[in-house]
Chain length 139, copies 2
C-alpha cells in the first residue's frame, strides 16, 4: 500500500507527500485561478513514467557494464480534446549517451522496462496507448 | 500535447521538467541503488490524482461560496504483488474543513471532478479501480 496526502495551500496550489516523505508542490494556470508556481498534476504522470522507465533502463545498462555518460527520456503525451481530457497516447524516446554502447543491451533494457518492470507504464497503459523509441549518442 | 524531459543525474536520481517548466526530482530506495533524496515515480501518480481532483473540488466549492478553512485529499494505492506491480486500486478521501459547509455542495463538487473534469482520474482508471469518500470537518 502506498499512501499520499495532498493538502491545499492557496489559489490552486497544493502540496503532496507520499510514503517516502518527500514533498511535491502542484499548481495550475493563471487562466483558471492558479499562480503557475509548480507542475500541473497531469505533468506528474509524464514525469513519473519517464522516471520509472529511466530508473529501469539505467539500472540494467549499468549491470551490463555499459559506459554511460548521459541519459534522458523525452515524453510526449496526447490528450483528448474534450473533458476529462485524459491522456490517449504517450510516447517515450530514450536517449542513451556513452562510449561503445551496445544497441542490443539498450533494446533489451527498454524491453524489460516496458514489458516487465515499469509500474507506472503498467498503470497508465489501460487508457493511453504507449509507444517508445530509442537513440544512441556516442560521446 | 504535453511534453516532459526526464534527465539522469546520479545513482537512481532523475529530474523531470514538463511543459510548465517546473522541475521535479525523483529517486528510489537504497535497497535498489537509490539514495532516497526524492519521491518515487509511482508516488507521483497518487500525488497527481490528489492534486487534480483537489483543484477541481476546491474551485467548485469556492464558486459555490463555501467558507473553506482547509482541504486535504488522502490517497491510498494498492499495488499488485508481482511485477510490474501496477496500481490495482486507488482510494481518495476528500476532507473538507470549514464553516457551515453544505454537504450537497461537497457531493456535487466531488461528483463533477470524478465523473467529468479530473484528467488524471480519467487516465488512471483504465487499470486501477478508483473509489472515493468524503468527510466534512466543522471548524
Amino acid at each position: 500500500m502506498t499512501n499520499a496526502k495532498v493538502t491545499y495551500i492557496q489559489g490552486l496550489q497544493f502540496v503532496g507527500t507520499a510514503s517516502s516523505g518527500h514533498a511535491i508542490v502542484m499548481d495550475s494556470n493563471p487562466e483558471v485561478g492558479g499562480y503557475n508556481t509548480a507542475s500541473r498534476p497531469m505533468e506528474l504522470l509524464l514525469i513519473g513514467i519517464g522516471g520509472c522507465s529511466g530508473m529501469d533502463v539505467v539500472s540494467i545498462l549499468k549491470k551490463k557494464k555499459q559506459d554511460l555518460t548521459g541519459f534522458e527520456v523525452n515524453v510526449k503525451g496526447e490528450q483528448a480534446g474534450d473533458y476529462p481530457k485524459k491522456f490517449t497516447a504517450i510516447n517515450l524516446e530514450f536517449v542513451v549517451k556513452g562510449r561503445n554502447i551496445s544497441e542490443d543491451a539498450v533494446k533489451k533494457a527498454i524491453d524489460l522496462s516496458m514489458n516487465k518492470y515499469c509500474s507506472v507504464k503498467a498503470t497508465l497503459e489501460g487508457v493511453a496507448k504507449i509507444s517508445f523509441s530509442y537513440k544512441i549518442v556516442s560521446e
